[in-house]
């Protein structure tokens, strides 16, 4: 079904062409998965696209540093999850890096989101994502997670292409203290200011947005615009 090509040593050379081909034949996979990834595909998908129905997150196209950090946090217990701590604990630092680089390099290939936003949640969800609610100390999600929530390397994960339930569970986990270790407490601080209703509205809205076509890690660059 998929095309596998081994480009592990020269993958970066092929990136400029990648975006173009991708839009033409979505479904192409570039690097052969490292052996470590064999046990991940069952839940996170053959292309790292995740499994929305089971609330397993997509990994494809996420910043590599972010993914690696999460695996370390699962292993150390700062991010608590029975399944993932079991998966992460046996991994060496080197294996973590291999996996993070691999998933980060995969194109974002999710189908259009199945979910639509319930009408009563839409205005509040959109407001929080685009403008935030500064009275409550909640800056716009897109201010840190990038335009349209595409993510900003190295530290800010994408928010689109995830199920509402997964996103909701993460914010709730910060509020319950079962997820921590985020850089400078940036997300933890905001999660503590979000009511359950706000969390529900914004995660429902985010889950209904189109995941980006481009792999953000590669288009990100430092320096002023234009």
């Amino acid at each position: 079904m998929f095309q596998f090509r081994s480009l592990s040593s020269s993958r970066s050379l092929f990136w400029p062409a990648c975006g173009v081909i991708l839009t033409a034949t979505s479904g192409a996979v570039w690097a052969a998965p490292p052996p470590e990834a064999a046990s991940c595909a069952a839940c996170h998908g053959a292309q790292g696209e995740g499994m929305a129905a089971a609330h397993y997150p997509r990994l494809a196209g996420m910043p590599a540093d972010y993914l690696a950090e999460q695996l370390h946090l699962f292993a150390s217990g700062q991010r608590q999850n029975a399944i993932m701590s079991g998966m992460a604990k046996p991994l060496s630092a080197e294996q973590i890096k291999t996996l993070a680089d691999y998933y980060s390099g995969l194109p974002v290939t999710m189908a259009a989101p199945a979910q639509t936003v319930p009408a009563d949640l839409k205005p509040r969800g959109e407001q929080l994502a685009v403008y935030g609610d500064w009275k409550a100390g909640i800056p716009a999600c897109f201010r840190c997670h990038g335009p349209g929530g595409v993510g900003v390397a190295p530290a800010f994960p994408a928010l689109t292409g995830q199920s509402a339930t997964y996103l909701d569970q993460q914010i709730t986990a910060w509020k319950n203290g079962t997820r921590s270790g985020d850089p400078q407490g940036l997300m933890h601080t905001i999660a503590l200011r979000m009511s359950d209703a706000d969390t529900k509205a914004v995660t429902a809205w985010l889950a209904a947005q189109k995941p980006e076509a481009a792999v953000m890690g590669k288009t990100n660059q430092a320096g002023g615009a234009q």
């Binding site: 201010r143 407490g185 953000m216 002023g224």
Partner: protein, 317 residues
Amino acid sequence: MSKHIQQIKPVLTSILLASVAVVPMASLAAVEVTPKSAPNAAVLTGSTFTPPDPSTIPNDEFGKMVQLGRNIMFESKKYAPQYVGNSLNCVNCHTDGGAMAGSAPLWGAWVSYPAYRSKNKKVNTYEDRLQGCFRYSMNGKMPPLGSDVLVALSAYSYWLAKGLPTGDTKIAGRGYPDFPAPKQAPDFVRGQAVYEANCAICHAANGEGRVVNGTVVFPPLWGAQSFNWGAGMGSIKNAAKFIFANMPYGQSYSLTPQQAWDVAYFMDGHERPQDPRWEGSVAATRAKYHDNKNSLYGTKVNGVLLGDTGAPKPFNE
């Protein structure tokens, strides 16, 4: 990493929210401000004013101008392209599109003009004041008086200030809140350490910010795309006050005052576009416009004579 957050949790709601009511601005300097994160910049200003909600912008000709003003605040280059010479947006230094107390809100400014300004030694109208933002903060060109851009920003400011008495130039929440003078003279090396620990994750190690898919996510703090040497943020004092109340993003008042001074010195100790009031040499420009302890222009910092970059580059649209 999570150490920080553990401190915040218990104190955040109780102490800080209570302090909204009990810490008036005047007594702030006397209070030892301990690091913890407040929900927003308004908290330590004593401001009680709430500007109207954007959803209530009227749906008529006046409302269209108000909306245009708001759009210019959020996306300056898109809505005022002929006057913007860098990659900043007004909202970058005026949180929530100029609605937030403690982040130089436009409503606080609106009720305070016309006013005499020592910067240009004359009485300035509100439109004059806005022109300065484009020339310096946006490193661009001044929109002509009466132009749509200035009318729209004025209409938006007026609309935000609904219900405020005019002429109260010291209204709580105006500007960036005053805060304690540094105990030690601000320092580049200490500032760099603060920067690396608290700012670089967003503004990048080289201070140039981060751009995704052509959109600036984290604005540049120095370099060619940032504010120029004539801007208010180039004053260490203004910068320290802004940073203390507004940065790191989402964590108002979490730095100590000393950290804010040090990191402001570090930021303003880097090269940026020339002061458009250039007098032909760094020394002459410093003597005329920067001869005070809050400006590092024309001084040597970290081995670099700041501002020694020649005449200002012409602005091209």
